[in-house]
C-alpha cells in the first residue's frame, strides 16, 4: 500500500504553475497528500498554490531558499502515514502526464529495490522533443543525457519493461521513498540548484538502491531556470557557471580517492582546453564561467573535505555500480570529433548536447549552403553554388589571358602586385616609410585590409589580390545570392538578381581597370543590404557587423560611407519612429566606421576631393569624364572594360515594369528611390571627372532588389491564362537577357584592359641585386609627351604606397633634378638625386632615344645595361640612403593598438557567438520563428516577469 505526497516547489513560476497544478491534481492515481512550497515568489505563485492545495498545505519560504531546502522543510513537517511512504517532487514548471504517477508506482511495485524513480521528461513547448531519460555524468563532471539535441520521442529510448536503469533522474517528477530520503539526508543544501538530483541519486546507488527512469511515465518540463526563463534567486551567477561548478563538486565529492585524483587532473586540463576553445569561439562569457567554476570548486577545499567526509560510507564499495552508469571515457573523443565536424559545418564550435538547453540549437545565419548533406548533393542541389561555379567559369573564360600571363598582375589602378602580407603589415604599422623619398604620413587603412586578406591567403598578396579582383564576379554573385536569402523567397528571382548583379558593367569595369577596392565593395554591397534590413529592424548585432563591413568599404572608397550615411539618415527618419532601438542600431552602424578610421577620415575631410578617389593609382585615363548621359542611366560607368550601353536594357525594362505592380509598391518605390539617388550621385561624380562605378553599383542594387522582390508574380502569371503566360515568358526573357548578354560580351571581349597578367617587376633585377641597403632607383617613363617618374626604394612598390606623401620641398627638388637629368643639360642634377639615396636610374624599354642620349651624356651616370627590356644606369660612386628620422611617433603606435582593440571588439560584438543570450530567447515562450523574434529589441532580464 503506497502513500504518495506530492511536493510542488514554486519560485516565480506562475506562467507554468497553473498547468502544473492542474496536472498534479488530475492524476489518474489520486495523491494522498499534496504540499506546496513558495520560495518567495513575486508573481502570485503562492496564491495559485494556495488556491489549488488549500492555504494549509502551502509553505512560504524566503526567496533565497533552494529546491532542496524547500523539500526538507516539507518533509520535516510531514507527519508519518500508513504503508510505504513516497515523496513526489515536482517543479513549478514540470507538468506530469495524468497517468504518470500510476506508471511510476507500478514500476516501483515491479522493482522492489527501486528507491528513486523518475518520469521521462519532454520539452514544455515542443511536446514531442525528448529532454531526459535519466541523466548520467562524465568523469569530467559533464552532464550527459545520452540524447541528440532536439530528438523526438518515438519510444526509441524506452526500456524493455518500461524502465531504464540510470545513474540519476531529475528532481522534476522524482518519486522517492521517504525512508530512503531520510536515510540519505535528502538533497544536499550545498547544491541549491542543478546537480542536486545527481548527487542524491549517486548516494542512493552507493547505498544499494536502484534508480529507475520509468519511460511509461511522461512529464513536460520547461527547464525555466537553466534556460534563464526566470531569474535565479539562490545565486547571482549565470546558470551555466552554477551547473558547471555543481557538476565538478558532485564528481569530486562522490568519486573514490584514486578515481578522484585522476579526475582532478583531467578536469583542470579539460577546463583549460575548453576555455581556449570558448575564446576561439568568441564566447568569452563561457570561458570565464568555465574558469570561475573550476576556481570556485578547487578554491574552497574545506567544503569539499566536509562533503567527502559525509559521503564516506560505502563510497568505494558502491563505486563499481556507479561507474557502470557513468559516461564511458571514449565519449570525450567522440564529442570532440563531433565538435570539429560541427565547426566545419558552420555552427558554433562548442556543442550543446547534454546541456540543459540542448533543444535550443537555433539555426544561425549562413548555414543554408552548409546543410549537413553530402558534398555532392550540396553542389547539385544548391542554386547558389551552381551559380557561383557558373560565374567562376565565365570569369575564367574571360580572364584567361590574365590568369595565364605568367607575370605579375597589375595595370590600371593596380601597381604590379609584389611583396607578402608581412610587407603590407610593416607598411601599415611603420612610422616612417621608405617609399618614394621617404614619408611620415600614416599608411591608409585599406592597406591593413589587404594585409589581413593576404594573411588569410598564407601571406600571398598576389593570390589574395587575384582572387579578390578576378574572382569579384563569382564572389559578388554568391554574396548577392546569400544576402537576399531572407528578403526574397523565390529562388529563380534570386538567381537572376545574383547573376545580373555580378555581371553589371561596373563589375567588368572594375576588373579591367584593376580597382581592387571597388571589387571588394561590390562583394560587400549585398551584405550591406542584408544587414541594413536587420539594422533598421533594430538588431544590435547586425549593426556591429554592418559598421565593420562599412568601415572596410569606406577604407577603400570614402564615397561608400557618404552614400550609406545619407541613405541611413533617410532610413532613420522613416523607421526611427516605428521601432524602438532603430536609432541606436543605426548609430552603431554609421558610427563604427568613423571610430575605426578616425585619423584617416580627418585627412579625407581636409581634402574633400579625396572622397571621390578610390584606393590605388588615381589615373585620370581610367575614367571617362565625357561618359554619356544614357550610359549613366543604364548603370554603365564608362572607361575600359565596360560593355555597350544597351546591355543593361533588359534590367531597366523589367524594373520599369515592376512599377506597374500594385502589391509591392512601397518596396518598389524604395528600390527606385535608392536607384535614382545612386544615379544622381553617379552623374555628379562622373562630371567631376572621377569614375562613378560605386554609386552606380548602389543604384543597380536598389533596382535589382526592388525588381526581384516582385518576381514571384511571374510564377502567378504562369498559372493564369495563355496571354499572361506569354507575357511572363517575355518578361523572363527580357530579364535574363541582361546577364546573358553581359557574360557573352565579357567573354568575347576579354576581361583585360589596362589590367595585365604579364608584367615584370618594375625594378630591374640588377638594381635590386645592388641595393642591399635600400638604395633607391629612379624610374623614368616617357608617356604622352611628358616624362613620368617614380622612385623605388630598392624594391617594387607595394599596394598603398602610392598614397603616401613625401615632404613637398624634397619632391620639388627631386622633380627639378629629374627634369634636368632627362634634358641632358649636365650639372648637379645627379648629385642632387644621389643626396636622396638614388643609386640607379632606369627606363623601361624600349628606351626613347633622346632619354637614352641624355642619360648617356651624364658623366656621373654609368650605363649598366641597355636592351629592349629597358636601360639601367648607375650613379658613379657610393650613395648613402638618408637615415629615417630617429624616434617613433608615439601617437601612431597608440592609435594602432587602439584600432586593433576596437576592431577586435567590434568583431566580437558582431559575431554570432557573442551574444548567446539571444539564443536562449530564440526558442523562448512564444512559438514564433527565430527570425522575427530576433528583430525585436530586447533585454533578457526584462522578460522575466517581476
Amino acid at each position: 500500500m503506497h502513500s504518495v505526497t506530492a511536493i510542488v516547489v514554486a519560485h516565480d513560476g506562475a506562467r507554468w504553475l497553473k498547468e502544473t497544478l492542474d496536472a498534479v491534481l488530475r492524476q489518474s492515481r489520486p495523491l494522498d497528500r499534496v504540499a506546496g512550497v513558495d520560495n518567495g515568489s513575486r508573481d502570485g505563485s503562492g496564491r495559485l498554490l494556495a488556491e489549488a492545495f488549500g492555504q494549509g498545505s502551502v509553505l512560504s519560504l524566503p526567496r533565497s531558499a533552494g529546491f532542496g531546502e524547500a523539500v526538507h522543510e516539507v518533509v520535516r513537517r510531514l507527519p508519518r502515514a500508513q504503508g510505504q511512504e513516497w515523496l513526489w517532487l515536482l517543479h513549478d514548471d514540470c507538468a506530469p502526464d495524468p497517468h504518470a504517477l500510476s506508471a511510476l508506482l507500478r514500476a516501483a511495485d515491479e522493482n522492489p529495490k527501486a528507491a528513486i524513480l523518475g518520469p521521462k521528461l519532454r520539452d514544455w513547448l515542443d511536446r514531442r522533443v525528448l529532454l531526459e531519460i535519466g541523466v548520467t555524468v562524465g568523469r569530467s563532471g559533464r552532464r550527459d543525457t545520452g540524447l541528440e539535441p532536439r530528438e523526438y520521442d518515438q519510444g526509441q529510448h524506452d526500456g524493455p519493461h518500461g524502465v531504464v536503469d540510470v545513474l540519476s533522474v531529475s528532481t522534476a517528477g522524482m518519486l522517492i521513498r521517504r525512508d530512503v530520503w531520510e536515510e540519505l539526508a535528502g538533497l544536499d543544501p550545498v547544491l541549491p540548484l542543478f546537480r542536486d538530483d545527481l548527487d542524491l541519486c549517486w548516494r542512493a546507488r552507493i547505498a544499494g538502491h536502484r534508480v529507475l527512469n520509468v519511460t511509461t511515465a511522461v512529464a513536460w518540463h520547461a527547464e525555466a531556470a537553466s534556460r534563464r526563463r526566470r531569474r535565479i534567486a539562490v545565486s547571482d551567477d549565470h546558470p551555466r557557471r552554477l551547473d558547471r561548478r555543481n557538476g565538478l563538486f558532485v564528481i569530486i565529492a562522490n568519486l573514490p580517492f584514486l578515481a578522484l585524483v585522476r579526475s582532478i587532473f583531467r578536469n583542470i586540463a579539460g577546463s583549460l582546453a575548453r576555455t581556449v576553445l570558448f575564446l576561439l569561439a568568441k564566447q568569452p562569457a563561457n570561458a570565464l564561467d568555465e574558469l570561475a567554476a573550476l576556481g570556485s570548486v578547487l578554491g574552497r577545499p574545506g567544503r569539499l573535505i566536509k562533503a567527502r567526509r559525509a559521503r564516506k560510507k560505502g563510497r568505494k564499495q558502491g563505486y563499481p555500480a556507479v561507474a557502470r552508469l557513468l559516461t564511458p571515457p571514449g565519449a570525450t573523443w567522440r564529442r570532440l570529433a563531433d565538435m570539429v565536424q560541427r565547426y566545419l559545418a558552420g555552427e558554433g564550435p562548442v556543442d550543446s548536447a547534454g546541456r540543459h538547453h540542448a533543444a535550443g540549437a537555433a539555426e544561425d545565419d549562413g548555414d543554408e549552403l552548409l546543410t549537413d548533406s553530402g558534398l555532392f548533393q550540396r553542389i547539385t542541389s544548391s542554386p547558389g553554388v551552381l551559380l557561383f561555379l557558373l560565374l567562376a567559369g565565365i570569369t575564367v573564360a574571360a580572364a584567361w589571358p590574365l590568369l595565364t600571363g605568367g607575370g605579375l598582375l597589375g595595370g590600371g589602378a593596380l601597381v604590379p602586385v609584389t611583396g607578402g602580407a608581412s610587407d603590407l603589415w610593416r607598411l601599415y604599422t611603420e612610422n616612417h616609410h621608405v617609399a618614394g623619398l621617404g614619408s611620415d604620413t600614416w599608411a591608409p587603412p585599406y592597406v591593413a585590409v589587404i594585409a589581413a586578406l593576404s594573411t588569410l591567403f598564407f601571406g600571398n598578396t598576389a593570390l589574395a589580390v587575384s582572387v579578390l579582383l578576378l574572382g569579384c564576379v563569382p564572389l559578388a554573385g554568391l554574396s548577392a545570392y546569400v544576402a537576399t536569402r531572407r528578403m526574397i523567397s523565390y529562388t529563380p528571382a534570386r538567381v537572376w538578381l545574383a547573376a545580373t548583379y555580378a555581371l553589371l558593367p561596373v563589375a567588368t569595369g572594375v576588373i579591367a581597370t584593376g580597382r581592387v577596392g571597388t571589387a571588394l565593395i561590390l562583394i560587400l554591397i549585398p551584405g550591406y543590404v542584408a544587414l541594413a534590413t536587420r539594422v533598421v529592424a533594430g538588431s544590435r548585432r547586425a549593426a556591429w557587423g554592418f559598421g565593420l563591413l562599412l568601415a572596410v568599404g569606406a577604407a577603400f572608397d570614402p564615397l561608400v560611407y557618404v552614400m550609406v550615411a545619407i541613405l541611413g539618415g533617410l532610413a532613420a527618419v522613416s523607421f526611427g519612429g516605428i521601432r524602438r532601438g532603430v536609432g541606436l542600431s543605426l548609430g552603431i552602424g554609421l558610427g563604427t566606421p568613423i571610430v575605426l578610421l578616425f585619423p584617416w577620415l580627418v585627412e579625407i575631410v581636409r581634402e574633400p576631393r579625396r572622397i571621390l578617389l578610390e584606393s590605388g593609382l588615381a589615373d585620370p585615363a581610367l575614367a571617362d569624364p565625357r561618359v554619356s548621359a544614357e550610359a549613366l542611366l543604364m548603370f554603365n560607368p564608362g572607361g575600359p572594360g565596360t560593355p555597350p550601353v544597351w546591355v543593361t536594357g533588359g534590367l531597366v525594362a523589367v524594373a520599369l515594369g515592376a512599377l506597374l505592380l500594385r502589391r509591392h509598391q512601397t518596396v518598389v518605390a524604395i528600390g527606385w528611390g535608392v536607384t535614382l539617388f545612386g544615379v544622381l550621385l553617379a552623374v555628379v561624380v562622373g562630371r567631376l571627372g572621377e569614375w562613378p562605378g560605386v554609386p552606380l553599383a548602389f543604384a543597380a542594387t536598389g533596382l535589382l532588389v526592388a525588381t526581384a522582390l516582385t518576381a514571384h508574380r511571374i510564377a502567378e502569371f504562369r498559372a493564369a491564362g495563355v496571354m499572361r503566360r506569354l507575357g511572363a515568358l517575355l518578361i523572363v526573357v527580357v530579364a535574363f537577357a541582361t546577364p546573358l548578354a553581359a557574360a557573352g560580351l565579357w567573354i568575347a571581349g576579354g576581361a583585360g584592359g589596362p589590367l595585365r597578367g604579364d608584367l615584370r617587376d618594375p625594378l630591374p633585377p640588377l638594381a635590386a641585386a645592388f641595393s642591399p641597403r635600400g638604395e633607391r632607383t629612379l624610374l623614368m617613363r616617357p608617356e604622352g609627351g611628358r616624362l613620368t617618374y617614380t622612385i623605388l626604394p630598392g624594391r617594387a612598390p607595394l599596394i598603398g604606397e602610392s598614397d603616401l606623401r613625401s615632404p613637398e620641398a624634397d619632391t620639388a627638388r627631386v622633380g627639378a633634378a629629374v627634369a634636368g637629368l632627362a634634358s641632358g643639360r649636365g650639372g648637379d642634377d645627379v648629385r642632387t638625386l644621389a643626396a636622396y639615396g638614388i643609386q640607379f636610374v632606369t627606363a623601361p624599354g624600349p628606351v626613347e632615344i633622346s632619354l637614352q642620349r641624355a642619360l648617356d651624356s651624364e658623366p656621373a651616370l654609368a650605363r649598366m645595361s641597355l636592351s629592349e627590356v629597358g636601360g639601367l644606369w648607375r650613379v658613379v660612386g657610393t650613395v648613402t640612403v638618408p637615415r629615417p628620422p630617429a624616434g617613433g611617433d608615439g601617437w601612431h603606435r597608440t592609435w594602432l593598438w587602439a584600432q586593433a582593440a576596437l576592431v577586435a571588439l567590434v568583431l566580437l560584438l558582431a559575431s554570432p557567438g557573442a551574444r548567446t543570450a539571444e539564443q536562449y530567447d530564440d526558442h523562448g515562450d512564444a512559438p514564433e520563428p527565430a527570425r522575427t523574434s530576433r528583430r525585436r529589441p530586447r533585454n533578457p532580464e526584462e522578460r522575466v516577469p517581476a
Binding site: 601597381v415 520599369l656 544622381l680 624610374l779 613620368t788 617614380t790 643639360r825 649636365g826 658623366p859
Partner: protein, 487 residues
C-alpha cells in the same frame, strides 16, 4: 498627390519624370571634348659640358663659349678649363663668355679635355685644326672636339685604303668598356679583338684599325660602350699625296640621313652608305643644291647589302656644287662622304650624316684671322641647306679680339643650299668663331663649315659638319606618378 500614388501608373510616371530630369542634367553637364594638349618642352641652358680634343698636337686649338645673347645661361659665374689628360696642368682657364680662345699647341701634346661649368658651359665648343704642308700627313685636317658618349659612328675609307687610327679617351670617373664593330664592304667584320677594351678613368688610347680588320677598303665603325662613356675620334691618313683628315662623327643609323656641308670646290665626291641592320637597304639619293633638290641621274638609288658599306661616286653629280645630300632608305643607314681637293698632291676631307641645328650651332674654328686670310691663306665658307622647308638663319661671327660683329640673317629657300663666304672682321686677331642660329619658325637647317687653302701643289681642304650647339637642353615636362611602374 494621393491619387498619383494610388494610381497604377502614378509611380511609373513619377520615376520616368525623375529619370528624364537626371538624363537632362547629365546631358547638359557633359563637358566638351578637350583636345589633348601636347606637352611643351622647355629650353634650359646647359650647365655642364665636357669634351675631348683627341690629338691637338701641332695644330691650333679653338675654344669658345658664345655670348649669352638670347638669355642663355643664367648670367652666373662659371669657367671652362682646358687641360691635357693624365694630370697635365691646365692650358687655360676661360671665364670670359663670348671670347674665342685660340692657341697653337706644340707637338706631342696629349689629348686635351675641355670642360665648362655654369655660365661657361652653355654652348661651349672646341675644335682642333692641323695644317701640315709636307710629308705623308700633308693636308688640312680638323675635328670638332668630341663629347664622351656611349655610342659613336664613323664612316669612311677602310684600313686597307688608308691608315685609320681610332682615338679613344675616357675623361669620366667611371671605367669605360669599349667595343668596336666594323661594317666593311663585304659585311660586318667578326672579330673579338674589338671587344672588351677597358679604358680606365683619365686614360686614352690609340687603336690602329688595321689590327682589328686589315682588309676593308671602306668601312663604317661603331664604337659602343657597355659601361661608362668614351670620347672616340677617327683619323684617316690616305698616304703620301693623298691627304689626311678626321672622320666626323656620323649620325646614328636612321632611315633618313642628311649629309651636309659639301663644298663647292672641284674634286672627287664619293658617298659612303652603310646598312648596319639585318636587312638589305635600298637608298634613294637626292642632292640639295643651290638651284634646287633633285635626284641624280643614274644615281637615284643605291642598294646596300645588310651589314655592309657601299660607295657611290657622285663626282659627276655634285662635283663643284655646294650642297647636301638627302638619303632615304627602307632600313636604317649611316652615311658619309669623302671629298678631295684638286692639285698634284691632293688633300681629303670628310663629312657625314648630321642632325639639324634646331637650337643653333657653334663652330669654334670659324676660320683664320683677317691677316692670314688676306695673305691668301685659308678661306672659310659655310654651306647651309634647308632640304625640308624654308629657313632663315642668323650668322654671327665671334672674333678673338674685339666686339662680336652684328649678326647677319640669311634666307634659305626650301630645298635649296647656299654657300656663304665668311669674312673675318677687322681686329679678329688670329681667327674667329661662328654662331649659326635658325630663326624661330624655320625648317630644319643642316650645314657644314669648309676650310680650304690654295697651295701650289693643290688645295688643302677640311670640312666640319655643323652640329647642334650644346647651348640648350630641352627639359621635358615631368610629373611624379607612381603609375610609371606600369607600361
Amino acid at each position: 498627390m494621393k491619387g498619383l500614388i494610388e494610381n497604377r501608373f502614378g509611380l511609373l510616371a513619377l520615376v520616368l519624370v525623375v529619370l528624364g530630369a537626371l538624363y537632362g542634367v547629365a546631358f547638359v553637364s557633359r563637358p566638351a571634348p578637350v583636345p589633348p594638349k601636347a606637352a611643351q618642352k622647355v629650353k634650359t641652358a646647359v650647365e655642364s659640358v665636357s669634351m675631348v680634343c683627341p690629338d691637338p698636337g701641332g695644330g691650333r686649338l679653338s675654344v669658345i663659349t658664345p655670348p649669352a645673347d638670347q638669355g642663355a645661361g643664367n648670367g652666373g659665374s662659371g669657367a671652362a678649363t682646358v687641360e691635357q689628360m693624365k694630370g697635365g696642368k691646365p692650358l687655360a682657364t676661360l671665364d670670359k663668355v663670348g671670347a674665342l680662345w685660340r692657341r697653337d699647341v706644340p707637338l706631342r701634346t696629349r689629348p686635351v679635355t675641355v670642360a665648362g661649368m655654369g655660365a661657361a658651359a652653355a654652348g661651349l665648343e672646341a675644335a682642333q685644326t692641323t695644317r701640315v704642308t709636307s710629308g705623308a700627313l700633308r693636308g688640312l685636317s680638323g675635328v670638332r672636339c668630341v663629347e664622351p658618349g656611349a655610342e659613336a659612328w664613323f664612316i669612311g675609307p677602310g684600313p686597307a685604303a688608308a691608315d685609320i687610327t681610332l682615338h679613344l679617351a675616357n675623361s669620366d670617373e667611371a671605367a669605360a668598356d669599349v667595343a668596336v664593330m666594323i661594317y666593311a664592304g663585304e659585311g660586318p667584320v667578326l672579330s673579338d679583338r674589338g671587344n672588351g677594351m677597358v679604358i680606365k678613368p683619365g686614360e686614352y688610347r690609340e687603336v690602329k684599325l688595321r689590327d682589328l680588320a686589315p682588309s676593308p677598303l671602306v668601312m663604317a665603325v661603331q664604337v659602343t660602350t657597355s659601361g661608362g662613356r668614351v670620347a672616340a675620334a677617327v683619323r684617316a691618313s690616305l698616304g703620301e699625296g693623298r691627304g689626311v683628315d678626321w672622320l666626323p662623327a656620323a649620325a646614328p643609323p636612321s632611315t633618313r640621313v642628311v649629309v651636309p656641308g659639301i663644298p663647292g670646290s672641284a674634286g672627287q665626291r664619293e658617298l659612303y652608305v652603310a646598312a648596319p641592320g639585318e636587312q638589305d637597304a635600298v637608298v634613294q639619293v637626292k642632292a640639295v643644291l643651290k638651284d634646287g633638290s633633285y635626284a641624280l641621274k643614274n644615281k637615284e638609288t643605291v642598294e646596300v647589302p645588310a651589314g655592309s658599306t657601299t660607295t657611290l661616286d657622285l663626282t659627276t653629280g655634285v662635283g663643284g656644287q655646294a650642297g647636301a645630300l638627302v638619303l632615304t632608305a627602307d632600313q636604317p643607314i649611316v652615311a658619309g662622304m669623302r671629298m678631295t681637293g684638286t692639285g698634284s698632291r691632293q688633300d681629303v676631307a670628310f663629312t657625314a650624316g648630321a642632325a639639324p641645328i634646331d637650337l643653333g650651332s657653334v663652330v669654334a674654328d670659324g676660320g683664320p684671322g683677317a691677316k692670314s686670310a688676306k695673305a691668301g691663306g685659308q678661306q672659310s665658307r659655310l654651306v647651309l641647306s634647308a632640304p625640308f622647308g624654308a629657313a632663315t638663319v642668323r650668322i654671327r661671327i665671334l672674333p678673338q679680339n674685339g666686339a662680336p660683329a652684328a649678326p647677319v640673317e640669311v634666307a634659305l629657300p626650301a630645298a635649296r643650299s647656299k654657300e656663304i663666304k665668311l669674312k673675318p672682321p677687322a681686329g679678329s686677331g688670329s681667327g674667329f668663331a661662328v654662331h649659326v642660329t635658325p630663326v624661330a619658325g624655320s625648317g630644319p637647317v643642316y650645314g657644314g663649315r669648309v676650310l680650304s687653302e690654295d697651295t701650289p701643289e693643290g688645295v688643302l681642304l677640311t670640312v666640319q659638319p655643323l652640329a647642334q650647339a650644346r647651348t640648350w637642353a630641352l627639359v621635358p615636362v615631368t610629373a611624379e606618378w607612381p603609375g610609371a611602374v606600369l607600361p
